[in-house]
Assembly symmetry: C2
Homo-oligomer: 631 residues x 2
């Protein structure tokens, strides 16, 4: 089994361009927006363990995880800005984390157990309720502790979490004294792998594998009144699971851990399950935005090709989960299907989940919005027809997504490079500098690019002589040109990567991707999109909003022979696209239904303005559509 190593975000300095701007917003705005909401809602103070019955802000059993993800995000932010001018401000954030760590130390049980809800609200039910996210919270605290240790060198949080992990090992593996065998919401598994990698303590890896191996043994009928065993991937032992099922966040966290265990144990069977599951998602259950989990009911995967646009659930956390899974697969298999999916997520469902100002969030990411539908239940006291929210919120009661977005964007540098002894892979095109070491040899790569606004990338490479650089040819790109030191490379891609020999100490590779906008169609199996197309430029999926294009947006069609005008727009942080299109003349339709007179049925020409999907709903409530008619 092949293995690659990811270059850590901490070794990647994102220097300019698209992602530098998004990271700035994330690292300077989102981090405070999330903290302030958590403070207001009592999530921060909950760590004081002072809540008593009758008090406001009763802790919820998932609050630990919300704050843990924020702490993890702070670690990434701090690690990225160490030694830079921003550092002072970020040190305040670090102080806030330290205060939380002190509270964790103070309130951790002698046994090592730590959980706010099951200490102050239901202490009698510790390790009794499989559905209550205890191990999920533990996992996020462990991830935060690892990230914080790696960012700051401070061991306290890590040590506390080792103690907690030891306790979990004792209760679940040695004593088997908990009321359940595996967690109702996966997360602990991948966290324990991280803890093993940070500490070198193999017991944590073995405990992660234990939870993976035991899955499928709990009695599913005990868990949820509304869900069956597939909901939490309990329907089969993991090595017999070949399709993506159930709650999409649970699922992708499990699949991520399965890939980790396959990696660490050279477990080909487990990797094959991951490969099949990934393809089931990619080929049958993923929106064009990279979003997954199409149904609100159970926040879950449904049947293949069931990808409704208006009622899309497409939870922000599920998109992130799929990227985490794909990233792990990339460390075993250098196949661009994984990095293509990561790119699809990065530029679409990930960014749609946060406002352009970084301070409000979507939990669900619909692919089409008709605001009037939210008022359809005119004779009912409250809306009974369910639709996703059509404006981002500053806060949710279930606040898993905002800090997940925070930690993901602040560590997005993780996704750019992997390597083994012979090859360095460039998965994502992000203006950045990185230095890392292969077998004692220092390697430096400077990426200069205005991608995705522009398709030109220059890679200045030092220290790679005798090795290969493998650059991804994105799925959306028809024509491209690659030059090494001004000589064109004509090698065909292998599994989506063109391999370039670096013969010198210094090599310059320049890549030019044709960024001409392209119309995509969905498989005929995706019945909701039949007769419709989506406009993409590079990795960015575009949409129309009524605010630019008028109402009845589903009636708009694009001319398939249109010329496209590309204009950089600073508000959106990338290019907008203008194109020629049509719509029917509404003034001709007094009747609800009328026979078509094809001979006398000219549509109105209309200049269409496409904006990036990720930027929809930033200018007020508006109809929005991705999948438009074409003629």
């Amino acid at each position: 089994m092949h293995k690659y190593i990811s270059v850590s975000y901490s070794k990647v300095n994102i220097t300019e361009g698209f992602w530098q701007r998004r990271q700035q917003i994330n690292n300077q705005k989102t981090v405070y927006a999330v903290y302030n909401r958590f403070l207001e809602t009592g999530r921060i103070d909950a760590f004081k363990f002072a809540w008593k019955p009758g008090d406001p802000n009763k802790p919820h059993f998932f609050w630990d995880s919300d704050v843990a993800k924020w702490m993890e995000g702070v670690a990434y932010i701090y690690n990225s800005t160490k030694g830079k001018e921003l550092m002072k401000k970020d040190e305040e954030l670090v102080r806030k984390v330290d205060e939380l760590v002190d509270l964790i130390e103070k309130n951790q049980d002698e046994s090592g157990y730590f959980n706010i809800y099951f200490t102050v609200v239901e202490p009698e039910n510790r390790w009794k309720i499989r559905t209550a996210h205890e191990l999920y919270c533990a996992g996020h605290l462990i991830e935060a502790a690892v990230a914080y240790y790696e960012a700051t060198g401070k061991r306290k949080f890590l040590d506390l979490m080792c103690k907690y992990a030891d306790h979990i090992e004792k209760v679940f593996k040695k004593e088997r004294s908990a009321n359940f065998i595996t967690p109702g919401h996966e997360e602990i598994e991948l966290a324990l792998v991280r803890l093993y990698r940070a500490t070198g303590e193999r017991r944590y890896l073995e405990l992660a594998k234990f939870f993976i191996d035991e899955r499928g043994k709990d009695d599913p009928s005990k868990y949820y009144e509304f869900a069956n065993a597939k909901y939490a991937q309990d329907h089969l032992p993991v090595r017999e699971q070949h399709t993506a099922e159930g709650h999409a966040v649970r699922a992708t966290y499990l699949y991520s851990a399965m890939a980790d265990i396959a990696y660490e144990y050279n477990d080909e069977q487990l990797f094959d399950c991951c490969r099949k599951i990934f393809r089931d998602i990619m080929n049958k259950k993923m929106y064009i935005t990279g979003g997954i989990g199409s149904s609100h009911n159970g926040e879950s995967f449904t049947i293949p090709y069931d990808l409704p646009n208006i009622t899309a659930y497409s939870e922000s956390c599920a998109g992130i989960g799929l990227a985490l899974f794909a990233w792990r697969m990339l460390n075993i298999d250098a196949d661009s299907c994984y990095s293509d999916v990561i790119e699809r997520i990065m530029y679409n469902v990930l960014l749609s989940s946060v406002s352009l100002d970084g301070e409000s969030f979507f939990y669900e990411n619909p692919l089409e919005v008709i605001p009037s539908l939210l008022t359809r239940d005119t004779s009912l006291k409250k809306q009974m027809s369910r639709f996703p929210a059509i404006q981002r919120s500053h806060v949710f009661s279930c606040s898993c997504c905002p800090p997940n977005i925070l930690r993901f964007i602040s560590s997005i540098g993780n996704l750019i490079y992997t390597y083994d002894d012979k090859t360095v892979f460039v998965h994502q095109y992000i203006a950045s500098e990185t230095k890392f070491t292969i077998k004692g040899k220092n390697v430096q790569i400077i990426q200069q690019t205005d991608y995705p606004n522009d398709g030109k990338i220059t890679l200045s490479i030092t220290g790679m002589e005798g090795r290969k650089l493998a650059v991804r040819i994105p799925y959306w790109c028809k024509n491209y040109k690659i030059e090494r030191d001004n000589v064109e490379i004509t090698e065909k891609p292998i599994k989506g990567y063109v391999y370039i020999d670096c013969n010198n100490e210094f090599t310059t590779v320049s890549i030019t991707f044709d960024m001409h906008p392209r119309l995509f169609e969905a498989s005929p199996n995706v019945q909701v999109n039949s007769g419709r197309v989506a406009l993409q430029r590079g990795p960015i999926v575009y949409c129309l909003e009524a605010i630019d294009n008028g109402k009845n947006i589903r009636d708009i069609s694009i001319d398939k022979n249109t010329n496209f005008t590309i204009k950089y727009d600073d508000y959106f942080g990338t290019c907008i696209i203008e194109a020629e299109g049509y719509r029917r003349d509404e003034s001709k339709y007094e009747m609800l239904y009328q026979p078509i007179d094809f001979a006398n049925n000219k549509k109105l020409k209309q200049k269409l303005k496409f904006i990036p999907y990720y930027a929809f709903a930033n200018r007020g409530i508006s109809e929005m559509i991705i999948w438009i008619l074409v003629e």
Copy 2:
């Protein structure tokens, strides 16, 4: 205010063709299918008033109305077959009705009150619960009693119901001793008008008007936990209501009664409200099938143009209710918008609600079916995503629709003719013979036609000299030819009717409608249908089923220049249509999303087989679609 008189179904003998066949199925199969289900479910025996707590088949508060509609249907069937060979069998049905009437007599309260549920289950709550359908049940019993009296000449049932109506007058109007002012489900109003017309007792008309006038005065907050005042049309006094709101069956029964009261009282203001409401439905809230009430939630009207196909509620009873409303409007205003809507309902949503064999029924009538969606909640214990049933049932617990279909089809002859002193209007084209009297003069009209299979109609008219015959030019018809005694008539239609002078004792009018299939489009405001067309031939809306055309039916497009092949198909009882179309080549779509290569993107040609929408789901579970792509 103009007034016309409808020629009663009892004077119309449907002699052959499309509706004779459907009436046969209705009058010989449906009537027994409904009775047997009612017997099995305890609805018939409930009239014995013997149910006690602990017994099975606890009566529901709407059961009286289910059986009443069946009794009404039997009356129409009997009246249509009197003196014919079928009569013997129908006399058995009449005996069953007589048994029920005897039970009503036996169990009617001395006060005149009659209700199964509020006698045997909750006697303490008589006239206390506005939402419990007491007056609704009373209304249907009154309608049945009037129909039965008119059909058989037997007065007993009518007299019992007069006594009941007297009781209602006393409680609601004189004493005002009930717990509410107007019924939570309208029906009593139009029934009281019928009772007035049958008995000549003006108090019943005044009581109907009382309920109409008082509507809007009840405190809506008392009624339903989930619904507001619009649900039962309580939001405004009726004379201020200009849009169709709330529960669609309640609404159309109210609007029907409003039209009746406008007619009887020459109430122009009320008629104007009816006119506006009808246009609100026709122009904004009606499916192409004539179905109304697009939402399951509240079984109700929603916002304008909100007409989803897959989740269409389109209750069978609501379609019937709209036809009843339109028919009453036609008696005030000879405008073909009303008869066109009646025709739309008759050939589409009415017939779709019953199987071709007449023995199973749709409560909801979806306009598109993707059966796989009903299995989408793979990880849930039960289906949480709601879709209409995709196969007809023999029985429902809420069984309002089957007997409503029964009584409507058995009295469909009501819808053909209206007249005043000067003009006889031909609204529907049905092979039939009728004799009636205008100002003492006998008129006979013999319609010979194979409509809607064929567009040729011959009207042989006797006794109309000096009067006009007005024939409807249907909304779907572009070209037609009318001849009177072999001379072409070139008069333009007025409000949809061509007026023909009948100068002789005997006149022959022949009409030929161009029945070429036509593609209809919906207004751009109906966003769900943008880019799609519906095929109609004459009044019949067509659909595609996967059983004939393959799966992924939303991907099929029709060639806008296709030739149509029309073939009579005895199974469906009308013509099927073949046309040229296309679909994408599924073998080319391994990827979920791919860029379109317009230069190399030939679709597969496909011969399409369209069947009448009303006949869908008669050959097993299948994808079905009305609104298809066009190119």
